[in-house]
């Protein structure tokens, strides 16, 4: 339908259908009316004139007969003259009847024609005989003729009457037929009206549906699809599309544009759920609104478990007051960045995280919620602890190394000075360790060192510190002693436990230890000096014959 290229022309098409239907109905009515008119015209121009003139001539003939009769009965010549005058009326009427019936080819034409002829014959005789009878005043003079004339007139009168009756009947029949025709036409028009109405309604409905409603339904479907996030198909483009199609195409273009310039919700959800850090969105009342997959994995909880849960049951900080202050700050809109905190998992395990949070606001400025980002730092913490351990402890024996030992020595010295108590430093060097190492290998040496470390730790108090400061060199810091004998007791115990044979890889061997002891004194303020003094004493012990202890100076033994 190339003509229907806009809505205006489509509406006009519907109106045109209605107008065409109206025109057809008018034509049908006109046709029907014309038929009725022709029929009524026939009645008016043929039936009624014939009928009225037939009746008139019949009445005149009867009046003429009466005049004659009166004339004959009374013998008045005037009556006969009047009857003759009536002939002047009857004759032209009969001629008119003949002409009218002849022109219309009326079915009674032959009868009317013969009636006229009979009448004329009759009148010629009647005017003669009756006049004679009246003039002679003896009707019986020409009995036979008068009798014949009487019979003829009776027949004529019957004929007149019969023709008048038939003309009347025909007129009423035609009028009745007219009535029937009008009834029939009325029914026909009603029927046509209903048919036209139905056809028009169907045609307009079909056209409106095809040209307006269906295209609009397509646009509506596109909008519905788009609002539900589905892809919108490109509308079918037909030649000479109308405004609705232009609208559909424009809408389709708009969806394309929007897809290009708008980040879809799916896309954002995808990013959030695939990020490695935990992201939790809190409601203003600090309950969980949503939590991403990383959060669920970190806490071992499902999304349903988390939603609506108070954030205080997840977030913990060793210092409760600190956590309260943090939440208060967040609700007031303060951002938190890289704050070390703990998340509590579903089975009450603490996970260290680096916590950042900031408030979210609605366009009207009210608080919408809080977004909490947490980075799992448990691995980082472990690595840091490992490094710390490596820096301060001996990897082989697990004992504090020289570094930590020095640290503790300095702290012990400070405490001793502040509180005025004594402490002792023992410097130990294994005897005959090098031959063991050479004979049985480094692995055996390492095992021996681990066994030594164990025995040394068992020989001292928990508060004392055993450290490995060199290959086979150890130190023991006795944090509090009363006098030299306390240190001596410890040294003696060490010599005793170290005197026990070692079983290394199935081989029994004996290791000795040489111990140098340095007691603290107010004068000794340098850790290095203290250590050096102990070291010196140890060498003195080795020089004395190994497997013994020596004080830095003899007077320290007192």
């Amino acid at each position: 339908m190339h003509i229907l290229r806009n809505i205006r022309s489509k509406i006009w098409a519907c109106v045109s259908i209605a107008l065409c239907s109206y025109l057809l109905a008018t034509l049908a009515t006109t046709w029907v009316n014309n038929q009725t008119k022709a029929s009524i015209t026939h009645v008016q121009r043929v039936d009624l004139p014939l009928f009225s003139q037939g009746l008139q001539v019949c009445n005149l003939f009867q009046a003429q007969a009466e005049d004659y009769e009166n004339g004959l009965l009374t013998g008045e010549a005037g009556d006969v003259q009047r009857a003759t005058l009536r002939h002047e009326q009857i004759s032209p009427l009969l001629n008119d009847l003949v002409r009218l019936a002849g022109a219309r080819h009326h079915e009674l034409y032959p009868r009317i024609l013969s009636l006229r002829d009979d009448y004329h014959d009759y009148f010629v005789m009647a005017s003669q005989y009756y006049l004679e009878a009246v003039q002679k005043a003896d009707i019986f003079a020409a009995r036979k003729e008068v009798h014949q004339l009487g019979k003829l007139r009776a027949a004529l009168e019957a004929d007149f009457q019969s023709i008048a009756d038939m003309l009347q009947v025909m007129t009423f029949t035609d009028l009745g037929a007219n009535n029937q025709r009008i009834d029939h036409n009325t029914r026909l028009l009603h029927f046509l009206f209903v048919v036209f109405l139905l056809l028009t309604a169907l045609a307009i409905n079909w056209l409106a549906n095809k040209e307006i409603i269906a295209p609009l339904a397509q646009v509506k479907k596109m909008i519905t699809d788009f609002s539900r996030g589905r892809m919108v198909d490109k509308p079918r483009r037909t030649e000479g599309g109308d405004e609705i199609q232009e609208l559909a195409v424009a809408f389709w273009r708009m969806t394309r544009e929007l897809q290009h310039i708008t980040v879809s919700r799916d896309y954002v959800d995808n990013i959030i759920n695939n990020m490695s850090d935990s992201l939790v969105i809190l409601n203003p009342d600090l309950t969980v609104q949503t939590a991403n997959h990383a959060t669920q994995a970190l806490l071992g909880l499902g999304g349903e478990d988390l939603e609506g849960r108070s954030f205080r049951t997840i977030f913990s900080h060793p210092e409760a007051s600190m956590a309260d202050a943090l939440f208060q700050g967040l609700l007031e809109g303060k951002a938190v960045t890289n704050f070390e905190a703990l998340y509590l998992t579903g089975d009450e395990q603490a996970v260290p995280v680096l916590f950042s949070a900031s408030a979210l606001y609605l366009p009207d400025g009210s608080l919408q919620g809080i977004s909490c980002l947490a980075h799992d730092i448990s691995e980082l913490k472990e690595q840091r602890e490992q490094l710390e351990f490596l820096a301060n402890f001996d990897k082989l024996t697990g004992l504090p190394n020289r570094n930590l030992f020095f640290d503790r020595l300095v702290r012990t010295m400070k405490e001793a000075r502040r509180y005025g108590h004594l402490f002792a430093l023992l410097y130990l060097d294994l005897d005959h360790f090098k031959p063991l190492n050479d004979t049985h290998g480094h692995q055996a040496g390492d095992l021996a060192l681990q066994e030594v470390a164990k025995r040394l730790q068992q020989a001292v108090r928990d508060t004392d510190t055993v450290s490995r400061v060199g290959g086979d060199e150890f130190t023991i810091l006795l944090s509090r002693v009363h006098n030299a004998s306390d240190a001596m007791k410890v040294a003696t115990k060490i010599l005793e436990v170290m005197g026990q044979p070692f079983v290394i890889q199935g081989n029994q061997c004996v290791l000795g230890v040489s111990i140098g002891i340095c007691l603290s004194s107010p004068e000794l303020t340098s850790a290095d000096v203290l250590l050096k003094n102990a070291d010196t004493a140890m060498y003195a012990a080795k020089a004395q014959g190994r497997n013994r202890f020596m004080f830095t100076s003899p007077d320290q033994m007192l």
């Binding site: 009707i139 009487g150 019979k151 003829l152």
Partner: protein
Amino acid sequence: MGWLVVLLVLLGPGGGECRAAGNFVMVANVANGLTSITPQDVQLIFLSRKRSWPDGTIIAPVINENTKIYESFSYTLLKRSPRQYLIFRKKMLFRGQGMPPPVVQTDQEVVAFVAAHAGGLGYVSPEAVTPAVKVLALSQ
């Protein structure tokens, strides 16, 4: 037989109470097989309602305007005045309904007419009856 006819005529028309001055008798052709006739038949015949005898012969009535018996006949048998009867005959003739009977003025003419027509029927004074005609008694 003469006295019987006289008696009958005396009794017949009015039971002795005759309005008319003269008496009359009905006469028919001698060939007529009837011996009597009813007054009703006479009336029907003269009003042209009855046109043939029982044997099929056409009845030919004749009106006797003999003033002595005409009125009597008209009133007693036709039940109307002579003028009414005249108008009746004129109308009948004019309308072609029937041929009125011929009219004669004397009894002799009647006798002659009846004798001449086989179906003839007339009325005459009793003294005018001749053997050429047959008297029909008026039965009740």
